[in-house]
């Protein structure tokens, strides 16, 4: 596998692995690269080249995860990246799959099964939304507040007011495998649902589930292996500040 570096043309990199588009989107980099290299594009859009390279490399190669390197990046970058992926899931990926399941009704002989799948998936959407809401409304703001407190060398008011008793461990304990149900759904579609009348739509659905599942695994990896350890480090520093504040 090609090692990614700054002098490769961005378009070539994406042509070589179309999945990298997901990262481009999450870093808010627009397409239309012409002949520009990875570093030129990154500089133009204010993205750290190393951050881009490490994300891409680990996304492509599942055995590659430079945890220590990731920990050196500012926590805001990581949160921005995670937020943008949430946005993509909630606004696009999940509704697309939901629509596909609704359309299955005309596509599988047994109507009960399509109803059942829809029910299963809607339950999943709820669970998914709760999962993301906790991250968006509690974990990320909390992280940003401690980070700010440390930078300013004093506890922010919000931190004192809203998070006086909050600890990242609360999140660690509750952070579940959001992709497991997708794995099951995919498996049920392949093994246990009576065969569809036309395979094309059905296959697209299975393929989309598979992609989302993999994507979420990657996403959770960044939360579990980068965000959480990063917040642990920040909390250690915060402890000192809290002592001084008393």
């Amino acid at each position: 596998m090609m090692v990614i570096h700054g002098d490769i043309k961005m378009a070539d990199l994406i042509m070589g692995d179309i999945n990298i588009l997901a990262i481009i989107q999450r870093l808010n980099i627009p397409l239309g690269f012409k002949e520009k290299t990875v570093s030129e594009v990154c500089i133009e859009h204010n993205v750290d080249i190393q951050f881009f390279i490490q994300l891409t490399q680990s996304y492509r190669d599942k055995d590659y995860f430079p945890k220590d390197h990731f920990l050196t990046f500012p926590v805001e970058w990581i949160i921005d990246y995670l937020r943008n992926s949430h946005k993509c899931y909630v606004e696009h990926r999940i509704p697309t799959i939901e629509k596909q399941i609704i359309e299955l009704e005309n596509n599988i002989q047994n109507q009960n099964s399509s109803e059942l799948l829809l029910r299963f998936f809607r339950e999943y959407i709820q669970e998914f939304n709760t999962h993301i809401e906790i991250e968006e409304k509690i974990v990320f703001p909390y992280t940003i507040e401690i980070n700010k407190s440390i930078k300013d060398n004093q506890l922010t008011t919000t931190l004192k007011k809203r998070y006086s008793n909050y600890h990242i461990e609360d999140y660690v304990e509750a952070h579940n495998n959001i992709e497991e149900k997708l794995y099951d759904l995919k498996n049920i579609l392949i093994k246990y649902i009576p065969p569809p009348t036309t395979n094309c739509k059905y296959n697209t659905l299975i393929f989309d589930l598979f992609r989302l599942e993999n994507d979420l695994k990657d996403h959770s990896d960044i939360e579990d292996k980068v965000l959480i350890p990063k917040v642990h480090l920040l909390e250690k520093k915060l402890k000192k500040l809290k002592m001084e504040d008393k």
Binding site: N112, F120, Y124, Y183, D184, N187, Y192, I193
Partner: protein
């Protein structure tokens, strides 16, 4: 397929091996002239079919077999004429080639069947019952109480169910249970 022969007579052992050589399914044959030798071998590995003379010490042999994971099909070899209530698992040294061949063929067939059951991903009736309760949303403890088994057993059933079906979540198992009519769609709220 592996076959063990327990028979003290050299000539009879060779005769059986000759019969077995007709079957392409048979790839390993081990012969034992005493109960002790056979017992020792059985403790180490178990064959698919065991052909054993009725004069061998059956008690020791049975204990040795009971330890093993796969139960062999046992063919009993009589030095006498067969009793009139004999079954297809009874062989006699007086029987002709065609009859013996047919009985061995039957044993090979049964052994293959057994193997398929062991390998199959079908749920056992017990597992189906546990699955039903899981799909209905009951906890391990509730299931244990209802089925008069320990929670530990419930957990091990659940592990096997998940492994066989490749479905990890409760909602996934519920969908499976409904699709396979283990529970009805109206059974869930």
């Amino acid at each position: 397929m592996k076959i063990f022969i327990g028979e003290s007579s050299y000539i009879i052992r060779k005769g059986i091996i000759q019969l077995l050589s007709q079957f392409k399914e048979v790839d390993i044959i081990k012969e034992f002239s005493t109960s002790d030798e056979l017992e020792k071998a059985l403790l180490e590995s178990s064959p698919n079919i065991l052909i054993i003379n009725t004069a061998f010490n059956h008690e020791d042999i049975e204990t040795a077999i009971s330890e093993s994971e796969h139960q062999p099909v046992i063919l009993h070899l009589f030095n006498t004429q067969l009793p009139h209530d004999s079954t297809k698992t009874h062989l006699s040294v007086f029987e002709n080639k065609a009859t013996l061949t047919e009985k061995i063929e039957n044993a090979i067939y049964i052994s293959n069947e057994n193997e398929n059951i062991n390998d199959s991903e079908e749920l056992s009736p017990r597992e189906k019952l546990v699955l039903k309760h899981v799909a209905l949303g009951q906890t391990n403890k509730e299931i244990a109480e209802k089925l008069f088994i320990s929670t530990h057993t419930v957990i091990s059933h659940r592990k096997n169910i998940t492994r066989k079906l490749n479905i990890k979540t409760v909602s996934g198992l519920t969908v499976y249970a409904i699709l396979n009519k283990i529970i009805g769609i109206d059974d869930i709220n």
